[in-house]
């Protein structure tokens, strides 16, 4: 089924008027988080698979179009095989490619 968009009533400028401040805040929170991690241990960003994915996702903010879809895919498990046994009870937010060398270039 093809998407049948519902045209947003607001113009681009109106969207910026409405949402700029709250997203400015979010942007600063992300910057503060990255600075905080670096301040504690600058090697974490290159060692921790979650941070690697996070930084790749931040870099995708500069891409166009469909940034959100790109980021969702960066943070997703791209494999297709089920686990043979339960490893833990919950997801943790990013895919760990160790053990899946084929999954990430």
């Amino acid at each position: 089924m093809k998407p049948q968009p519902h045209k947003p009533p607001l113009s681009g400028t109106q969207i910026v008027d409405e949402y700029f401040i709250e997203n400015r805040t979010r942007l600063l929170e992300i910057a503060a988080f990255l600075d905080r991690v670096d301040r504690m241990d600058p090697t974490v960003r290159s060692r921790d698979f979650r941070m690697k994915a996070f930084i790749e996702a931040v870099n995708a903010l500069g891409a166009m179009p469909d940034r959100l879809l790109q980021i969702q895919m960066i943070l997703s498990d791209p494999t297709i095989d089920p686990l043979d046994r339960l490893d833990r009870k919950s997801a943790i937010g990013a895919f760990d490619p160790s053990g899946h060398p084929e999954a990430r270039s």
């Binding site: 089924m1 998407p3 049948q4 968009p5 519902h6 045209k7 947003p8 009533p9 607001l10 409405e18 949402y19 959100l68 879809l69 969702q72 895919m73 943070l75 997703s76 498990d77 791209p78 494999t79 297709i80 089920p82 686990l83 043979d84 046994r85 339960l86 490893d87 833990r88 009870k89 919950s90 997801a91 943790i92 937010g93 990013a94 895919f95």
Partner: protein, 277 residues
């Protein structure tokens, strides 16, 4: 404003939350069977939970003028336990004739193990055998894409299953197309951090249109919001969408899906809750 929340774990919530639902125009909630936050020790424990869902909770909701319906299942978080799952599945049929049970749910996967897929498949077959609606949980975070794909793959093995009788819940931007392209309903879950925000949910409506999309709060024992659906409505108004579209998404669409069960009594002419407390 009238609305229906098709996914609310009310056994975990206080009566104050029912009051909030009633005050904000909630006409009905549907409650899928889910994980208690810890693993149950036996089938008897799950059966007592089914009794709570089908006997006690509808009365608690009715005190606030809110209709309460339920879905029964072995929940995904415990479905890797095959022994418990088999026991629970044997117990479900005797509850299916109860007047507020709408179908089998929430079924699906958690970490996408072979055992979870086996339990999920058996529950799909149970729903088909008893002609029940199906509500599917899709996994969280990095597991959502893979879990949604495999959930759909299993469903497509059953050509007798009408996709319009299946809602695939917790959809996000990267899964909604595969859900709707195959004719299923998509649920957007307005849940902090691990699912979708009201702002992103409105984006999805703008991008894909409102057909076969419902929104729910999925409030439970974790940090969550029993009145997430009216917050979505407020966000729609913030974008200047008209009330007709808002009512379609939060009231008419869930009626269209849920009314496929003859037990679901809410109609388009049902008024807002008239009695509170």
């Amino acid at each position: 404003m009238r609305y229906i929340d098709h996914h609310a774990h009310m056994v975990s919530r206080t009566t104050d939350d029912y009051q909030q639902l009633a005050l904000t125009g909630c006409v009905a909630v549907t409650e899928p069977a889910f994980w208690a936050g810890w693993d149950r020790s036996c089938g008897d424990s799950v059966e007592d939970y089914f009794r709570q869902l089908t006997e006690f909770e509808p009365k608690r909701a009715a005190a606030y003028g809110v209709q309460h319906y339920s879905w029964l299942a072995m929940n995904p978080k415990e479905s890797d336990d095959r022994e418990l799952s088999r026991d629970v599945l044997k117990r479900i049929p005797k509850f299916l004739d109860r007047p507020t049970v709408l179908g089998i749910g929430e079924i699906g996967m958690n970490r996408i193990t072979r055992n979870e897929i086996a339990t999920y498949t058996e529950q799909v077959e149970l729903a088909i055998e008893h002609d029940q609606l199906i509500l599917i949980h899709t996994p969280h975070l990095e597991d959502k894409l893979k879990g949604t794909r495999i959930s759909i793959d299993v469903l497509t093995r059953y050509p007798e299953l009408n996709p319009q009788r299946v809602m695939i819940d917790h959809a996000e931007e990267h899964t909604i197309e595969m859900i709707r392209d195959r004719g299923y309903w998509a649920g957007l879950t307005l849940y902090p951090q691990t699912k979708i925000s009201p702002q992103r949910a409105v984006d999805v409506i703008e991008k894909y249109g409102p057909d076969r999309i419902c929104v729910a709060g999925a409030c439970d024992w974790g940090p969550s919001d029993p009145i997430a659906v009216p917050r979505f409505a407020v966000e729609m108004r913030r974008r200047r969408h008209d009330e007709t579209l808002i009512e379609r998404v939060i009231f008419e669409n869930p009626i269209r899906f849920l009314s496929q069960s003859p037990k679901f009594k809410v109609t388009i002419s049902t008024p807002e809750p008239a009695r509170i407390g």
